[in-house]
């Protein structure tokens, strides 16, 4: 059936069968081969610069404090000699650059000094608290994505072609109000409903698996409602596309259409916003941890501020900032993988 000579196609030799399964591997290969140089180096530079800024800012905390930090720590009644001793001990009388290098080197080696209040090494305090925060944030992330995407998909499916206008109004109302509620207010509300009134979940602390539910929900719910709004718009957009019409003309089941045709393309669009919201989880967790007396980095940080425990403050901020930076980087990489077209470029 040769009418014209077959067109020459892009791409080289056939790929190995092992790579066939997942789009990710294919994308990684393509990424590697073509634009990974620019992309990787760009991301790396961005990462390093951000970390540098983080170091400078945390370093600057102590430097920028008006007055004498040593005196602040020891209190007005301490003798001038004691203040001088502490100043020297903290290295505050050395030139700025030296102090910074000392600080930076220490940070990279995880030697962050000792707590002013407990005397324990800051790094061990941080490491002890870190898993709790990560666990809370992880659960919140999962809840946010699940609720946001599913709710948004549902809303999109129900409101195509201006159907169910009533639902659209209700949806906008819920997401508008719920999305504007700050996480700590949401925490109080949830606490009231579930812990005090219904007594299902514990009010405070980390007592077994169920105690992560309320704090994670408090962080995740408002953000997930915002995500749902965007997901709904993306869903409406995708449902209007021609390839959905193709899927329908193939008489595919609703499930397959939504799972393989709608969802992947919605995720493409929603991942950008998702990235911004991820950061919101970290910030939200700092406050919510305090509502529920969750033994994580947030409570640590907030306790150490009035206590003027500068090493701990610096360390906790540094660690939280690091989590944010790593999260942002991961989001960028995921975005590039999920959208092979954007990363590589079409014909």
């Amino acid at each position: 059936m040769q009418v014209v000579s077959p067109t020459v196609e892009p791409g080289g030799a056939s790929r190995s069968r092992v790579m066939r399964k997942h789009g990710i591997y294919d994308s990684v290969q393509r990424l590697f081969r073509q634009k990974w140089v620019a992309f990787g180096i760009g991301r790396l530079v961005h990462l390093v610069v951000t970390l540098l800024v983080l170091l400078v800012v945390t370093f600057a905390i102590v430097q920028l404090i008006p007055g004498n930090p040593a005196r602040l720590v020891l209190g007005p009644k301490a003798s001038p000699q004691a203040v001088e001793v502490l100043r020297h001990k903290l290295g505050l009388d050395e030139p700025l650059v030296t102090q910074f290098l000392h600080y930076a080197k220490g940070a990279l080696r995880l030697r962050l000094g000792n707590s002013f209040t407990t005397g324990q090494p800051v790094s061990s305090i941080l490491l002890q608290r870190l898993p709790y925060t990560l666990w809370l944030d992880g659960v919140a992330l999962v809840i946010m994505m699940l609720v946001g995407v599913l709710f948004g998909l549902l809303a999109g499916a129900l409101t195509t072609a201006h159907r169910n206008r009533w639902f659209e109004i209700v949806f906008m109302g819920i997401t508008g109000f719920g999305g504007g509620v700050p996480s700590y207010v949401c925490a109080v509300g949830l606490s009231f409903i579930f812990a005090v009134t219904l007594r299902i979940f514990p009010v405070a602390g980390m007592n077994g698996a169920s105690s992560v539910v309320l704090p994670a929900l408090a962080i995740a719910l408002p953000l997930s409602l915002l995500l749902a709004r965007v997901v709904r718009v993306a869903t409406l957009d995708v449902l209007a596309q021609d390839y959905i019409r193709t899927a329908r003309s193939n008489r595919l089941s609703i499930w397959r259409i939504y799972f393989r045709y709608v969802l992947p393309n919605v995720l493409n669009a929603a991942v950008s916003l998702g990235g911004l919201l991820f950061v919101g989880i970290i910030g939200g967790s700092v406050v919510v941890e305090n509502v529920f007396a969750w033994p994580g980095l947030g409570t640590l940080l907030v306790q150490s501020i009035p206590a003027l425990d500068y090493p701990v403050i610096q360390g906790a901020t540094l660690l939280l900032g690091l989590i944010v930076v790593l999260l942002n980087t991961v989001v960028d990489v995921v975005r590039a993988l999920v959208d092979p077209q954007a990363a590589v470029g079409g014909p």
Partner: protein
């Protein structure tokens, strides 16, 4: 007329592959329901290639969508009869309808660039073309997809199946769509402006593929276009649509000389040809087609028609047989023909 059905039994199908009677598509409008497709009736035999020609807005795409049962909300389909392959599409239970349509009817659309899922590879999408059919087995489906990609002249089909749509050119995507449409060995393939978005050179390839599909597999084709040239290339019969109605139904060979409806004649006249006198102005049809809200009683073409009589504005002309295999919806044409006949007999 009998036909071999899929399972090998010989079923006497006492009628045409497709029987459409009074097909209407309605849309809710500000002042009542609008009818972009207004009582369309025609028949198709198995293996026939029929073209539907008309300007944009004439209702040709919606007619096709209505037949394929793919009309989008809020439009609604109604008809006196809609029979496909012996089944009544209006009353068939949903599951049965889904299987029949998946196995025996396929449609390809105008814009191939956006018709493929960007997040899925070509292979799985083609396999999806067979998924809802009666007999679906994965391995066979994959083999068939590979085979069909080769048939539509896509080089190295095995590798192509693992590609994403964005790696294909427009012409390749349209050919992949044709391959997808052929997966279930449909008896009827509806092609809605398959070449409009493509270069002229690619157009020829696509048309050739369609011609071969019809020749080698006996697949009936409905080809929709606003381009008479394309229609006359591969179609045997033409339906001319105007303002949601069929105004003429004739053999392609009769188009050039034997067209009866004033609109059809005007269309033919407006096609510029290389032999024409270059200095003469291009022929156009004065006026414009009525908008959906403007449809008045009587013939829709009457306001623009050069030979309209009083009856044309008050009464709506129905499709009437002018001669064998030639129907026309025009009072003037019918009257003229009967005069010729009576004169001939006299």
């Amino acid at each position: 007329m009998s036909a071999m059905s899929r399972d090998g039994d010989t079923t006497v199908v006492g009628g045409p592959l497709l029987h459409v009677d009074g097909l209407t598509v309605s849309l809710p409008g500000a002042t009542g329901r609008l009818l972009p497709v207004d009582s369309v009736s025609f028949e198709m035999a198995a293996g026939e290639v029929v073209g539907i020609v008309g300007e944009s807005g004439s209702g040709k795409t919606l007619t096709a969508l209505a037949i394929a049962q793919l009309v989008p909300f809020p439009a609604q389909v109604s008809a006196k009869a809609l029979l496909f392959g012996g089944y009544d599409l209006l009353t068939a239970p949903p599951k049965l309808k889904r299987t029949i349509l998946a196995s025996r009817l396929s449609m390809i659309f105008q814009n191939p660039m956006a018709s493929l899922n960007p997040a899925m590879r070509i292979g799985p999408q083609l396999i999806d073309g067979l998924r809802s059919s009666k007999e679906f087995r994965r391995r066979e489906a994959r083999a068939r997809a590979r085979h069909l990609l080769g048939e539509v002249n896509i080089a190295r089909p095995e590798a192509a199946m693992r590609r994403y749509p964005f790696e294909f050119s427009g012409g390749m995507r349209q050919r992949a769509m044709i391959a997808m449409a052929l997966m279930a060995e449909p008896e009827l393939l509806i092609a809605d402006e398959p070449t409009t978005a493509l270069d002229v050179t690619v157009q020829a390839q696509v048309l050739e593929v369609l011609r071969q599909v019809n020749r080698e597999h006996g697949t009936a084709i409905i080809l929709i276009s606003h381009n008479l040239g394309i229609i006359s290339e591969i179609c045997q019969r033409v339906l001319v649509m105007y303002a949601g109605r069929i105004v003429e139904d004739l053999d392609v060979t009769a188009l050039a000389t034997g067209a009866a409806h004033p609109y059809t004649k005007a269309l033919m006249a407006s096609v510029p040809s290389l032999e024409r006198d270059r200095s003469a102005p291009l022929v156009t049809i004065p006026g414009r087609p009525p908008r959906l809200e403007e449809r008045l009683p009587g013939c829709a073409f009457a306001p623009r028609c050069g030979v309209a009589i009083a009856q044309c504005s008050t009464e709506r002309p129905e499709l009437a047989e002018m001669s064998l295999d030639h129907r026309v919806a025009c009072f003037v044409a019918i009257k003229h023909e009967s005069e010729v006949m009576s004169r001939g007999e006299a």
